[in-house]
Amino acid sequence: MKLFFSLVCTLSLVSACAMPVADHGNYDVIYSIDEVVQEKADAKQAQQITIAVVPKVVNIPYFNAAEEGALEAAEDLGVNLLYEGPAFADAGQQILIIEELIEEEVDAIAVSANDPEELAPILLKAKEKGIHVITWDSDTVPEARDFFINMVDPETLGRHLMDTLAWNTDEKGEFAILTGALSAANLNEWLHWIKVHQKEYYPDMTLVEVSANDDDSQRAYASAKKLLEKYPDLKGIIGNSSVGPPAAAQAVKELGKEGEVAVVGLSSPNPMNEYLKDGSAQIITLWSPKKLGYLTVALTNNALKGIEPFDWQEIAKVGKIRMFNNTVIMGDPMDFTKENVDQYDF
């Protein structure tokens, strides 16, 4: 009897192995890699971020469009945006504006520099204060900024501009270039590639003059007229900055030389709409300045969060970007002709 009893006891002890070990709570955590934190604090933090975007100049369609894009991005990302620029494309004015922005203790400054050298000291000063400095549209010396947001690859753009002119002049004849400020780095780089491309592929074409206008519409118009008068055999004008093509087209139209003198270059579709349709301009090339404004704010915001741009990075509502040598390339240039110019609104 005793034996049987002890047997039963021990058997029940052994079979107790299968019984679950009771524990408090519904769940007993065995292993945890990490806690799941749902992102919520993000928006609040972003409220405090202030990004200043400084264009070369205000109140021209190009930079107005860029402002629209920047504002859209600021709204999407929930950051404060200051869009302040000089009335004329002047480096000194920009320096004053940037000084003010430094005093306002903004978190980041994105600047489209009128002069790569002159702006460097004030940008370096901003950097010392812990402000992120980014350049867009037009670069400064590399030391003065974190990275540069370029719209297009300068080589691609320069060569493409030369191509658009060649298509409309049967690859021969004289042509002139209307550029903005002679000090603007981006314009000079494009200019360089236009010349290279012409020398490589279009030996029958001759560049007769490069005329600077400091992005002033009046001066541009005046130089265009002067060029047309000075070179009666002129076959084409390339507007190297956004004020160039409208001025050239206006001059061509007024002188009744539609079809005779081809007008191509960089400009927004809206101011060129009419000229394209009436034949005083043939092709204009640009990127979306709205997109550029948007991208600038988006990348600046990313930089503030510690996300540096990288090659083939996907930016929401913009698409993929390229990145090399501390320079971001937004995308490829777009051509506007009388067929598609209505689709665009900037």
Binding site: L7, L11, C17, I33, E68, G69
Partner: protein, 607 residues
């Protein structure tokens, strides 16, 4: 408890030993087994609990990669300037141009998404400014402009970049009811920064299916993907899709695994949160499935345990029996000894403590036996001495009769007769005086009897005769003293019958004994009137009883018998055969006692 303990104290030693043995083996083994088993299962759970979240993380990573791919599909719209151009327009156009646009866009969608895109794309819809463009792989129902474009004729404006529309959120159904999700993405006019519309890509959840089904291990485990609300997007059990996991909110907010503790069949649940979509991938498996292997081990070990317990119980019973049975035998033997039986032998045969005990017991019993025998023999010797003393006397009647006969012979002046009788009587007296020797040669004893019979013959003259035959060298064999004389006296006394010649024959010979050895038989035979049957039986009975009890008429016979029995054991003594008027033969059996030490173990006892 204490009473139980004292009760236990009073149990048989065997029971105690068995219980102790069994407890000593069973308790440590079962404890060890239990601890080992629980440790083992715990470690399995921990291993799995660590391993599965990592798998899930991996799977989530795969799924996230696929989702990243899928998310890029809506962007394919951007690659066609023509389509973007159409989307930039609005619905306020002529029907034909609207239809042409629709044809163009649908065509592009088919080319790009249905034919060229991923296998998983079921269909694609673009809603733009009150226009719907679509292309699907399989027919669908319940989806039209009214379902998705808001009732005010306005477009959807998504606050975020893209949205996953889960099956429960849409009435859209495809033929065959494949599980799917809709990736809804706002189309932005990248250049003009305006809304172009919304693209919805219906994607079969095979990308989840493949990853998840891979992990489900033949249906043993449940896997499911759910969104932030616990709504199940995909489940290995397809009937669960679109339901809500009600416990989702209670799950610990970790990437890891946990065990349910409140359910009948406890489960091990592992979850992993996917940042990409805010979805959670969960894996649930019954704990018992995990420990299936160990259950086999457990059952096997329980079986082994039972066998082991059985064997150890048998061994313990054997051991306990081994210890207790000699003790029991000892008890029994002691009881026999208590009752006076000293002829016991406790044969244990081992040299352990019990064997030593048995040996000691045996030697103790032997010692006791010896003591008793010594005591008894002392008593016997005393008795024998007493009997001997009685026997060694010459009957006064005989003396008287002899002297009378001598006197008469003197009167008759028979000088020779007188001399002979006096000589004979003197020799007899000398024999009886010289009683220092308890053992005498048979020849001496015979001579003594012969003297006696010669005197009687002289006395009774022709009425009496005798003869003595010796078939052995009687000088070399020994016998206790005075054993023949009483028998011969008896024969003379009872055998004399008036009117005829009384003859007495004495015969000494070697006969085979009952034990196989030879014995000496001394026979005294007369031709007297014999003994009646009743008397003979009476005599036999008296001979068997205590020789010292009483001394009646048969004293001579009894005395001789007792002395022989005392000296040589009950196998020796008198044997009387007789019948009425047939004479009497008394046979005395004694062992062969030779001169010197040749008498075997019946050494010559000297008084």
């Amino acid at each position: 408890m204490i009473s139980k303990l004292t009760k236990f104290k009073n149990y048989r030693l065997r029971t105690k030993l068995i219980v102790t043995y069994v407890l000593l083996t069973v308790i440590p083994i079962s404890l060890l087994g239990y601890i080992a088993y629980s440790q083992y299962t715990n470690s399995i759970e921990e291993q799995v609990g660590e391993y599965i979240p990592k798998l899930l993380e991996q799977a989530n990573e795969n799924i996230a990669n696929q989702i990243r791919e899928l998310r890029k599909f809506p962007d394919l719209i951007y690659s066609s300037d023509e389509v973007v151009g159409i989307l930039r327009k609005d619905a306020h156009q002529s029907r034909s141009s609207l239809l042409q646009d629709e044809f163009t866009v649908n065509n592009y969608l088919s080319r790009t998404f249905i034919n060229g895109g991923s296998q998983d794309i079921l269909g694609v819809f673009v809603i733009s400014k009150n226009r719907l463009f679509q292309s699907t792989k399989i027919p669908y129902t319940n989806f039209g402009l009214m379902d998705y474009s808001q009732s005010y004729g306005q477009d959807i404006q998504l606050k975020t970049d893209d949205v996953f529309v889960l099956p429960h959120q849409t009435s859209l159904r495809f033929e065959g009811n494949p599980p799917f999700v809709l990736i809804m993405k706002q189309l932005t006019d990248l250049e003009n920064r305006t809304d172009l519309g919304t693209v919805l890509v219906a994607v079969n959840v095979t990308f989840l299916e493949d990853v998840i089904n891979d992990m489900s291990e033949e249906g043993k485990a449940d896997l499911w993907m759910m969104n932030k609300e616990g709504r199940i997007i995909y489940h290995t059990n397809s009937s669960e899709i679109r339901t809500i996991d009600r416990e989702f909110d209670e799950y610990p907010k970790i990437n890891g695994s946990f065990r349910t503790t409140q359910e009948n069949a406890n489960r091990l649940i592992s979850i992993n949160y996917m940042d990409e979509t805010g979805w959670t991938l969960a894996h649930s498996i019954l704990a018992k499935n995990l420990t299936e292997q160990t259950d086999l081990v457990r059952n096997a070990s329980i079986a082994i345990f039972i066998v082991f317990v059985f064997i150890s119980t048998i061994i313990s019973i054997l051991l306990a029996w081994n210890v207790s049975s000699p003790l029991n035998r000892l008890t029994k033997v002691m009881k026999r000894v208590e009752k006076g039986d000293f002829d016991v032998d406790l044969a244990i045969g081992t040299t352990d403590e019990v064997g030593m005990l048995a040996n000691n017991f045996n030697s103790m019993i032997t010692e006791i036996k010896d003591l008793i025998r010594e005591n008894y023999q002392t008593e016997l010797k005393q008795k024998e001495a007493e009997l001997y003393a009685l026997q060694s006397q010459i009957n006064p009647h005989f003396m008287y009769n002899t002297l009378e006969t001598i006197a008469m012979s003197v009167e008759d002046d028979e000088k020779d007769t007188v001399i002979e009788m006096v000589t004979l009587l003197g020799r007899m007296l000398r024999f009886s005086i010289g009683n220092k020797e308890a053992m005498v040669p048979i020849a001496d004893e015979l001579l003594h009897v012969k003297d006696y019979l010669t005197i009687q013959k002289i006395r009774f003259e022709e009425k009496f005769d005798f003869s003595i035959q010796e078939e052995i060298e009687s000088q070399n064999y020994y016998t206790p003293k005075f054993i023949l004389q009483p028998i011969v006296e008896n024969a003379v006394k009872h055998g004399l019958v008036y009117g005829r010649i009384t003859s007495i024959e004495i015969d000494v010979c070697l006969v085979p004994g009952s034990g196989g050895a030879e014995e000496i038989a001394l026979k005294v035979k007369d031709n007297g009137s014999g003994i009646k049957e009743e008397t003979l039986a009476d005599i036999h009975q008296i001979l068997a009883s205590d020789p010292m009890a009483k001394r009646n008429s048969h004293f001579g016979l009894i005395n001789v018998h007792a002395r022989i029995a005392m000296n040589f054991g009950s196998g020796f003594g008198l044997n009387i055969t007789s019948g009425a008027d047939q004479g009497t033969e008394v046979e005395i059996r004694i062992p062969v006692l030779k001169n010197g030490n040749e008498g075997g173990h019946y050494g010559l006892k000297k008084n």
